[in-house]
Amino acid sequence: MKPPAFDYVRAHDVAHAVSLLAAHGADATPLAGGQSLMPALNFRLASPALLVDLNAIGELSACAVDDDGSLLIGATARHRHVETSSTVARGWPLLAHAMGSVAHVAIRNRGTIGGSLCHADPSAEWPALCIACEAHIELRSARGTRDVAAADFMSGLFTTVRASDELLVRVRFPRWPATRRWGFREVARRRGDFAIAGTACTVDVDAAGACTDARVVVFGVADGPVRASASEAALRGRRPDAAAIRAAAVAALTGLEPRSDAHASSAYRLELVRTLTARALGDALGVPA
């Protein structure tokens, strides 16, 4: 259980990292927090020729509000930073709250948003949170910069649309309307373990109490997070009472065919999706599930 040999370069800025990725392509792997990459190296599931260490690039670790009111989280901002940031807790409380479910403190002290998104574990929280917040991901390469909607970033199991010469630089979370509600629930064998299933949601409610828009994302039950469109449609335009929440939770199962594994059967995962979606929406709307 020791990593294979590799070259190592500590990139001093984004341009340096991007130039290394341009020169080495698929032979190079960016090293952010290392909380998934290092186990993969120790198991020899990964054997990159070159590790490009991003940890000395100061601008990548920033977590701050932009001029337009959106939140910009740099690729190497740690989970623990997001969890404890008062700015995040005030403006995007779903993110700060959900970090408590990401592994354990010692892992959250190192793990990063960029690493989690690029790793694209189907049971990970960050990909689901980014979709629930309609975040946008900025990728930079020697060829230029492109902006990818979070929903388009994950392309399959542990797979994203990031090309091997592209660096995930930062993630933009649009400013929340003041009336936005949110909920987050997940089930793991122990707190901090990989989620067996989970739901993240954001719900907008107008002055009359009707739901104007909702984003419901379930994770741990497919190759990547799934936006539960049928669940959202069941809420939109309705007054979200207990009956509406129950209907939306059932609708969240539409099209899902979770795998069975050692942790849970497919049927149990579906039951979790229904229950957790009802509870997350109940938390968001102040309606006991």
Partner: protein, 158 residues
């Protein structure tokens, strides 16, 4: 292939200069090069918590860090938490409460608890349980460990 890389790390307050292969983990560097064998290696993929150290004061897994990454940083191991003679208050509480049997997980537990108490000097029992949830113990049964940390958080010296 890159040859050995020169690093300077502050380990338990002492400046250490070394030349390391990029693939050498911090845990192996501490154990085999510096003979700081208090940092235990269990799973080597971040699950068991036995190798927990402090990097710049924050708990981290030494098996998931490369020694080269620690160049210019401060590393504290369980050895660095003890006073020059005897035990720290936290360590003494582990002994008082029989918070160890085989002792394999103990360094990781002590380092993790030290980091918790540095951040939250008066944690609730639930906070203690949450803090050590990433450290696996296969024999003590956790209750005495939580008791020891709770005792160490009480005011007054012993």
């Amino acid at each position: 292939m890159t040859g050995p890389v020169a690093i300077v790390v502050l380990v338990n307050g002492a400046r250490v200069e070394a030349s390391v292969e990029p693939r050498l983990t911090l845990a192996d560097f501490l154990r085999t090069r510096l003979r700081l064998t208090g940092t235990h290696l269990g799973c080597e993929h971040g699950i068991c918590g036995a190798c927990t150290i402090l990097l710049d004061g924050q708990a981290a897994r030494a098996c998931l860090l490369l020694a080269v990454q620690c160049d210019g940083h401060r590393v504290t191991t369980v050895e660095g938490l003890s006073p020059p003679t005897g035990l720290s208050k936290l360590q003494a509480c582990f002994r008082r409460h029989h918070a160890l049997q085989c002792g394999f997980c103990t360094p990781g537990m002590v380092v993790t608890a030290h980091a918790l108490l540095a951040e939250s000097p008066h944690p609730t029992r639930a906070q203690i349980e949450d803090a050590i949830s990433g450290n696996l113990c296969r024999c003590t049964g956790y209750i005495p460990i939580v008791d020891a940390i709770a005792d160490a958080a009480r005011d007054g010296t012993r």
